[in-house]
């Protein structure tokens, strides 16, 4: 299988040179192949979100390299990284990160704005995705008018709107109820069947049996990798 993401001796430090310096990731080497479902597992504060940020190019490593489709993107410019994210990535944030001023369909469709897609087409795509995720009655609602589970589904719809190959979800079950968790698992399962590469970070045991590969992180180190037979 084709390698989609590979990291090489990845380090990420925060507050460098200050007394409170944090070594969030230390010498991380992982490899993710096309169509795989990946779980990054570990307790809170072990560096899961940091690793996701680095492999999704929304943050830069302190040391080491990130390869996307065998291309070293560590030294890419801001413009090039934005272009990569636009074409290949869909990110579901832990706290959803919806824009509070926008309605559900606008939140879903705003990544399409810089692509020059007309408002009519954006609206259509936004509505289609929201309907697919069971939010047809929430199309014109703002995030504040929706439950946590609904907000998360809007965030999922936004992650899918540009039809990316890689879906990244950071602690997707941490802010939703049990019913929404089941819906989420169904959605991820469906995306898996569509052939998407899915990377999920979680400390929730519900993901123990999920995914083809699990990376176990402990204190910023990759403790071990388990693969489903």
């Amino acid at each position: 299988m084709k390698t989609v993401i590979r990291t090489e001796n990845l380090f990420k430090y925060y507050y460098i040179g200050r007394p409170e310096e944090v070594h969030a990731l230390n010498d991380i080497n992982v490899e993710i192949s096309e169509n795989q479902s990946i779980v990054i597992h570990g307790p809170s504060g072990c560096g899961k979100t940091t690793l996701l940020s680095l492999i999704s190019t929304i943050d830069r490593p302190t040391e080491g390299r990130v390869y996307l489709y065998d291309q070293d993107v560590s030294g890419f410019s801001d413009v090039e990284l934005s272009r990569i994210r636009r074409k290949t990535m869909g990110f579901i944030f832990q706290n959803f990160n919806l824009l509070l001023r926008l309605s559900a369909w606008e939140n879903v469709a705003f990544p399409l704005v810089p692509m020059g897609i007309s408002e009519k087409e954006r609206y259509k795509r936004g509505c289609d995705l929201l309907t697919r995720l069971g939010l047809e009655k929430r199309i014109h609602h703002t995030p504040e008018e929706m439950s946590g589970g609904e907000q998360q589904r809007v965030a999922i719809a936004r992650a899918l709107v540009n039809d990316p190959d890689i879906i990244i979800a950071d602690e997707p079950t941490s802010n939703i109820d049990a019913e929404s968790v089941q819906k989420l698992l169904n959605i991820l399962g469906a995306l898996d069947k569509e052939g998407k590469t899915i990377i999920v970070s979680s400390h929730d045991p519900i993901f123990n049996d999920y995914g083809d590969v699990t990376f176990h992180l402990v204190n910023g180190h990759l403790a071990h990798v388990s693969k489903k037979e």
């Binding site: 940020s53 929304i58 801001d78 413009v79 272009r83 824009l99 509070l100 810089p114 540009n162």
Partner: protein
Amino acid sequence: MVLCLVAILLPFITAIAISEGVKFQASISVEQGADIYVTLDNYGSNAPIPLEFIERFRRLEGVVRVVPRIVGRTYFANRLSAIVGVLPENLPPGLNFIEGRVFGKRGEVIIGKALSEEFDLRRGMMFSLSQNPYITFRVVGIFEPGTTTVWSSDMILMSFKDASDFFLMEGKATDILIYTRPGYATKLAEKIQVDWAVNENSIDPPLRVQDKNLVKRYFLRGYNYKAGVFTALYTVAFALAIPSILVTSGFGLTERRREIGVLKATGWQTQEVLEMVALENLVISLTGAPLAILLSIVWLKVFNGAFIAQFFIAELGLFTRFPVPARFLPLSALLSFFFAVVLTMVGSLYSTWKTAIIPPAEAMR
């Protein structure tokens, strides 16, 4: 953000409008006035001129009419008022009476509407002024200020003789107004100035001769200076306003930083984020500037330009009885649009750019 912009622009637009209004009235006042104004020259300042000059000026070629005048200022209670003493036949022809008639007998005066309303002075009432309390005046008429509200609203018009007695100026006028035939004004002004100045054997004191254009220039220069001082003060306030726009536009605000981070994380490029913010700001400016102009009109109509008008019109109380003159010129509108755009663009583009160039994860953190 729109409200912040309006709060910054409103005083500026109002001040420009008042400044233009006052200058316009000054121009009208000068245009309607005499062609030449003559006083004595007391080391560069105006000094009262003896009435003997009237006959000398009358004999000059091109002179149509020579009018002596006494103009002074005095306090009516706590209000600074202008007193003008002229012969009844020399009163402005278009003087619009609300009630009463022109003064005739000694001690009779006509007063401006604002003065009448403020002190409830009606026709037939008597008053005296603290500067010379031995003279008593009786109101025989009340007039509308017309097109020059600034100067005539608080005015007391009386006979030349009464003004002369009041200001203790026996045999003198504060200035002599000369009306000329068309085309004679400049030449006559030069002639009067030269004839009286060059003659070494002359025992006459030096004269100060100002033609209409010169008076107009003095007026406008004075108000341009005031407008300039106001603009300078405002520039400082404007500079201080930029940080407040920075704050309201999101610099340092978590929510705005997060929004920009989300845009970048979902594939927007820095330039695209900046374009969106620029467009947003253009809309804000296009909304804020007309709103500021509209509120400025309301401020002038309802509050009579309170707090700003005092800067341009001397001795003006907070609430005046006469409408403060104001003019909205296309240039003022353009300026307000320009300032609105500059304020919002400088304020928010910089903060957006600073946030957009950091990794999205950091912006969202």
